[in-house]
Every structure is written in C-alpha cells, then in structure tokens.
Amino acid sequence: MADYVAGGVPEPLVPRTTEARNAAEAVVVAGRRGGPSAAFWGMAMLIASEATLFGTFIGSYYYLRFENKHWPPPGTPEPRVVVPLILVGILATTSLPMQLAAMAVRRGRLWATRALLVWALIVQCGYLVYEVHDYFDQLHSSTPQDNAYGSIYYTLLGADHAHVGIGIVLVVWLLWKLARGLTMYRLNAVQVVAFYWHAVNLLTLIVIGVLLSATL
C-alpha cells in the first residue's frame, strides 16, 4: 500500500501524533506534518474572538468620545504618556523570546525552550506588577464611577491587563508541563501560547495607543 495516495501524501508517510512518545519522536512528527496543528487554528479562533471584543471596546471608546464635548471631561486627569509607552515597549520585546521558544521546541531543544520562557515570564511579570500597581494608583485620582470616560478607560485598561495575566498563567503552566519532558501535545502548546503572546502584545500596543489618544 506504499503508493496509495490521498490528499497528496502516501498514507505511511503521513505523521501520526500517536508515534510521538518522546521528545525526539515528537520533533520528527512535527517536522513531517504539513501546516500548523489544529490547536494552532483553535487559538487563532480565540484570538479572532478576543480581538473583536477589544475592537468593540475601542469602538465604544471613540463613540463616547464623539458624544462628549471635552475628552477627558474637565476635572479628570489626562492619562500619563511616558511611562506606559516605555513599559508597553518593554512588554512587546517578549514576543522575541516567545518566538524563539517556539522555534527551539520545534527542534526539541528543551532547555533552551525553558530558558526562553523564563526570560519572557520575568519581563511579563515585571510589566504586570507595575501596571497593576499603577492602575490602583490612578484610582486615587479618578474612578470608573466618575463619568463615562472613566468607565471606558478603566474597563479597557483592566481588560487588557487581564489578558496579560492570562498569558502569564499560560507560560507558568507551560514551564510546569515542560518540567516533565516534551510530547507532541506540549510542543503544540508552546507554539500556541507563543501565538497568543504575539496577539496580546499587539493588543496592548493598540489599547495603550487608544487610551493615550485622549491626550492629543
């Protein structure tokens, strides 16, 4: 049956995830499969949905802006510019270690993967800690209960922080998984989480940009 052909590939040549029982085999299978895994597509769907949610938030932000003469309303402090921009810049750099981790795991380099994930994790945690602190700090000068501007401002920012937080949980989970060796499943997981982080970083850049547009 060696030369039976379906969908372009002879059946025996089609990689089986069931053949990947250890790191080496997982790498081989991942190398032979055509195109990204279904898990990757699943993450793409999640990201599409989340991106739409944030698109709606941002649309609401500008809708409310058009409804108001002064934005932010008098009495409400304008968002700080410099620090958030620097921080979001730093966060964006974590796309690099995440991508490198995805490539390393694809070659079965388990330690490199772990190291890169830790690198990314440290930066991300630093960002989140400062931002959360800053978030509560701002709540002293203005609150979501003040006016519509405050409501959308804190909702949008909080939602973004929540997504960064979820990303951190995912990375921790990955490290915990990879501590017990590599399987096909975990290999996919690393690639998928890297994908998620690229999306979150881009999202954060956009959200911060939108919120800072009030200072223009």
């Binding site: 049956m1 039976y4 379906a6 969908g7 372009g8 590939v9 059946e11 089609v14 990689p15 089986r16 995830t17 069931t18 029982r21 299978v29 032979r32 499969r33 055509g34 195109g35 895994s37 279904a38 597509w41 699943g42 769907m45 999640l46 599409a48 949905s49 989340e50 739409t52 949610l53 698109g55 709606t56 938030f57 609401s60 809708y63 409310l64 409804e67 108001n68 309303p73 979501p144 209960q145 003040d146 006016n147 519509a148 501007y149 405050g150 409501s151 959308i152 909702t155 949980v169 989970w173 998984k177 399987t183 499943y185 975990r186």
Partner: protein, 638 residues
C-alpha cells in the same frame, strides 16, 4: 437512476477494533462524559426541544392575552416577562442550539468524512455550558425575576433606576454565559470545517451544508463579542456604578443600541443561514439533481452573513441619527438582499430542472421558500427609511421577522428532522402523517403571521399587553391567535409522528433517500467511529460518485485508510484538503461538565454580588482547566 450497492461483508475484526476503541461508556455516565459529536448532538436536540416547548408556551399565553381587546389573562408585568423570555428562548435557546448545536454537531463530521469534531472535549463543554445557561435564565422565571425589558433590552428602561431587582442581571449574565457556549461551538465548527475534512475534499468539494455552517460560525464568532461587551457595560452600570449609558455623566443610550444591533443583525442571518444549509441538502436528495449554480449558492451563504454585519443601524432608523449615517446602512440593507435572491432562484431552478419528489422534507423546504420570500420582500421594504420609520415597532415588523424566523429558520429545522430521522434512528417515519403535519403547520403559521402585516399597518404597536377596541384590530388578532393554536397542533402532530415512527417505523437502511452527501454512505444509526474507511471525496456530492464508494469498500477489505491504531483522525490543509497529519483524538472525559459547573458557580456568585467568591470560583475554573489539560491524548492500547 442507479441506487447504491449494499455494502459487502466488512472486515469484521477491523470494525470490532474500531467499535471497541470509539464507543463511549455504557449507561448515564457515558452520556455525561461523552465527547462523541453524535451523542452531544442528541443531547442538544432534546434540550432545545424542551426549551422550544417553553418558548412556545410563552407565545401561546401571549396570543391568548391578545385574542380580543382589553383582555386580562395576564397582567402587564407578567406579559412583559413573557415576551422577553419568548424572544430570548427562541433565539438563544432554541434556534441557535438547534441548528448549530444539534444539526451541526451531528451532521458536520459525517458530511466532512471526519470521525469527530476538531475539539471533542470543547464540544462537550459547549453543550454543558449551554445547558447551565438555560437553567440559569429559566430559574429567573420561577423566582419571579425574569428579564422584562424585551430581548433587546434598551437602556435606560433596563438601567438600575427603572428596573431594580435582579431581572436584568439575569439577562446580562445569562447572555454572556450562553455566549461562551456559542463562541466555543462556532470556533470548534470553523476549525472542524477547515481542518478535519477527509483528505481530498478541497474547499470546492465541500457540501453546501458545510458552507452554511461555516458562514454561521464565522458570524457567531464575530458578532457575539459585541453583545458580550454590551452586556458587560450594562452589568457594570447596574452593579458597579459606571456610566456607559448614563447621559448625565457623558454616557450614551444609543451606544447600547449600536452594540446590541451590531450583534443583533448578523444574528438574524446566523439564525437562517444554517436553515439554508439544511435546504441545500434536502433539495438535491429529493430532486436527484445537484444544486444549480453551486459556486454562487456557496458564496451567497457566506455573503449574506458578511454583508449582514454592515446593516445593523437599520434597526435604529427612528432614533434620529444623521440622515447620511442612516442612508449608509440603508444602502447595505439594499444589497444584503441579493445573496438571498441568488439562492432562492437557484433552489427553484433545481426543483424545476431536477426530478422533484414532494416527500415531507421537500414539502417543508417548498414551504420554507414561500415563507422566506414573503418575509424577505417585506424586509426589502425596510430599506426605504421613511417607510421603516413609519412601521418600525409595529406588528408589521413582527410579521416580517416571524415569516423569516419561523418560516425560514424553523421550517427547514422541521424538514431536517424528517430528512435525517432515518439516519439518526435507523427507522423510516410515516409519510402521510408527515405531510398532514406540514399542511397544518403551513396553514397555521400563515394564519398566525399574515394578519400581523395588516394590523401593523393599521397602527398597532408591538409589545402592548392589551389594545383598545374600536381601532379595528380585533379580527386580525383573533385570526392570529387561532393560527397560533393550529400551528401548535401541527407541531404536536409532527412530534408524535416522529415518536411513533421511532418505535413502529420500518427499518430505513443506510440510504433511504439516495442522498447526496457522505452521511448516507454509512449505516443508520451511524457507528461510533462514523467511517470505517476515511472516505475518498472527489465531488461535493460524494455519495453519488459510485466509483469512489466502490474503492472505499475495497480499501476496507485491504485495511487501507482505516486508521485503527488508536483514536485516529486525519487532518487536512484548510483550502485544498491535502492530507497533513493523523491526530489522536481525546476520549470520554469528566472535565467538560465539571468546568461548566465551575463556570456556573462564577455566574451565580456574580449575580448575588459575592465578588470575592466569584474570584475564588474563577480559581476553581483554572484548576479544572489544569486537570483538563493533565490528560493528554496518547495511544490507547485497544
């Protein structure tokens, strides 16, 4: 017309292996933990049927209240809850779960030549979340806190000031909860359709049914977040004191309407597009002819949803938006008509050029086309903004969208029930009672909904719990109420017929209709593994490619393309269906229902304002997910 050759004696031991590997646990536990798309589809079916009965009962009370002027069957408070729950139930808890949940779950993998969904455990999760959200929202009715501001729930009427109590909180949380289920389902469907197709089933060889469900899933995926954001805003406004919709503090009441209808209009197409899909499967089977203008019908199903995203503001023409804005959406409303006209004429030409056998399912489809055209034509009228502003919020609109939603979405569901009944149960239904049920329902619905056009033009606004005599609205309302009773009778006949057929029906065999698609190539009811051999597909009407089917049988004998080394399922490339890998699918799992329970806990605690508790419950959700991902699909020694 040749008929399919009966399958030869299969390689028994291979089938046994597959059977042992794929079957769910016996007994109740098997249903609770199942990840089998067929079982999940059936669970969806029975659940939505119960909720359909609830929504129908609400409708009947409404019609009885309005049967004549100045009636007092129910008071205004109850009436408001009834029409709100009727809308919510029929849209979120009947049609969407019935089409995507029941029909989609059961049939998509069968039509794609797959053995399960792309994410079987997530599939189970969407069902349990859906069930939990249904219970959640119906609890409100029994504790007398049911949502009462209409299904589109306009602020400020829905704000804490004018609607204190938990009614609207139930609405917000219930909608978000249900939305999670729908989003998971649609994501699952999209990946299944793109990746799980049998190798060789390129995009243009995919049955039109799958195009319809792809379109509906994309619609849900992109429409729901808007509603989620909207309900989040409302929940915060009501319980945290934000001001999204509070004009006094710079908010906007129209923001609610915009966000709601950005979801709400695509929603309408999400309701009917799966019905188009059902129609485009029934028609070829009963005309023995491939659907006319295949590419145009396929793209029309995608286009109707896509353009449907650009028309939302036509629900808000009377709110005094700038004329330029309004007309922008009128233009989109004008063009969104065309994909539907394409399909209608394609269907009609298929009827004519084919060899139509008017069995019950096809009767329902013919009725569907009639109702859909009638409702669509009144829909076209709304693109004329002044006319829309005259009749919006009257019974004319009610007539329009019930012709669409009952006529164009529910008729095909009934037709589909008859059509796939033999496949699901292995029994044939009784034809004569089936046709009788169709005619009763058809006459009943037209008597129920047509007079609404007239009474609407005579100026009767919607959502009135009663109306004065002497405005000439009496006779029409009487007719409508009688129609509602007739329709109910018809539905009862239909269900009884199917129920009796289930016990008394003649055995159906694998392919009673000589249907066009892959589900008819396998025994009825389908085995747990769906396909013994991953089928070869070289056209969109695979069951009519006799050479391929013959080849599959020989492959089974030779043990080729059987994939019985585990819970195996081929994965293909999204567009051309080149075979890319063989994945091991997960099996029965307790985690989906546990996760749904944990999520339910979150929403209940949010409802009763136990914020910290909700946070804690989120932790439980996270732990459940941890356990979920603890079990990685690996080889199962069979």
């Amino acid at each position: 017309m040749a008929t399919t050759v009966p399958p030869p004696a299969p390689a028994e031991e291979v089938l046994d292996r597959l059977e042992r590997m794929w079957q769910s646990r016996p007994g109740v536990l098997g249903w609770v933990m199942t990840t089998d798309h067929k079982r999940i589809g059936l669970l969806y079916f029975w659940t939505t049927l119960v909720l359909f009965a609830a929504g129908g009962a609400e409708a009947l009370i409404i019609r009885t209240q309005l049967i004549q002027p100045n009636q007092h069957v129910v008071g205004p408070a109850t009436y408001d809850e009834l029409f709100t729950m009727h809308g919510l139930t029929m849209i979120f808890f009947f049609i969407i779960p019935m089409t995507t949940g029941a029909f989609g779950n059961y049939l998509l993998p069968l039509m794609l030549g797959a053995r399960d969904m792309a994410f079987p455990r997530m599939n189970a999760l969407s069902y349990w979340v859906f069930l939990a959200s249904g219970i959640f929202i119906y609890v409100s009715l029994f504790i007398g806190q049911a949502p009462n501001a209409g299904w589109f729930d306009y602020v400020p009427l829905a704000s804490a000031k004018y609607d204190p109590g938990h009614a609207i909180d139930f609405y917000c949380l219930g909608i978000i909860f249900n939305g999670i289920s729908s989003s998971l389902t649609s994501a699952n469907f999209i990946v299944t359709i793109l990746k799980m197709r049998a190798p060789g089933m390129s995009f243009n060889r995919m049955p039109l049914f799958c195009f319809a469900f792809l379109a509906a899933s994309w619609g849900l995926l992109f429409a729901l977040p808007s509603l989620t954001a909207d309900t989040i805003f409302l929940f915060l406004d009501r319980n945290v004191g934000t001001h999204f919709f509070d004009v006094a503090r710079g908010g906007s009441t129209l923001l609610w309407q915009h966000l709601f209808w950005i979801f709400g209009h695509p929603e309408v197409y999400i309701l009917i597009v799966p019905a188009f899909g059902i129609a485009t499967e029934i028609i070829p089977a009963f005309t023995q002819r491939r659907v006319v203008a295949f590419p145009l019908v396929a793209v029309a199903e995608l286009l109707v949803v896509f353009i449907g995203f650009g028309v939302w503001a036509h629900h808000m023409f009377a709110t005094g938006m700038p004329t330029v804005t309004v007309v922008f959406f009128a233009a989109a409303t004008a063009v969104v008509v065309i994909p539907s006209t394409i399909q209608v004429f394609a269907w009609c030409m298929t009827f004519i050029t084919g060899n139509a056998r008017f069995k019950t399912p096809l009767l329902f489809i013919a009725g569907f086309i009639f109702m859909f055209v009638a409702g669509g034509l009144t829909g076209i009228m709304f693109l004329a903004v002044p006319f829309d502003q005259q009749v919006t919020d009257t019974y004319f609109v009610i007539a329009h969208f019930h012709y669409i939603i009952f006529g164009a979405a529910v008729f095909p569901i009934f037709g589909g029930m008859y059509f796939w009944f033999p496949k699901v149960t292995g029994k044939l239904y009784f034809e004569l009672p089936g046709q009788i049920s169709f005619w009763i329902i058809f006459i009943g619905t037209n008597l129920l909904f047509f007079p609404m056009h007239i009474v609407g033009l005579e100026g009767m606004p919607r959502r009135n719990y009663t109306y004065p005599s002497g405005l000439g609205w009496g006779p029409e309302n009487l007719a409508e109420s009688i129609g509602s009773y007739i329709t109910t009778l018809g539905i009862v006949v239909l269900l009884v017929n199917l129920l009796v057929s289930y016990f008394r029906g003649a055995p159906a065999g694998p392919d009673p209709w000589h249907g066009a698609t892959l589900e008819w190539t396998i025994p009825s009811p389908p085995p747990d593994y769906n396909f013994a051999v991953i089928p070869k597909v070289s056209s969109a009407y695979a069951n009519w490619d006799y050479a391929d089917r013959e080849e599959d049988r020989r492959k089974l004998a030779a043990g080729i393309m059987v994939l019985e080394q585990g819970h195996e399922q081929p994965v293909s490339s999204p567009v051309d269906g080149w075979w890319s890998e063989i994945v091991e699918m997960p099996h029965d799992s307790p985690w989906p229902i546990l996760l749904a329970l944990a999520m339910g806990l979150v929403f209940v605690l949010l409802l009763v304002h136990v914020w910290l508790g909700a946070l804690f419950a989120l932790g439980v959700v996270a732990l459940t997910l941890l356990g979920w991902h603890g079990e990685e699909p690996q080889v199962r020694e069979a």
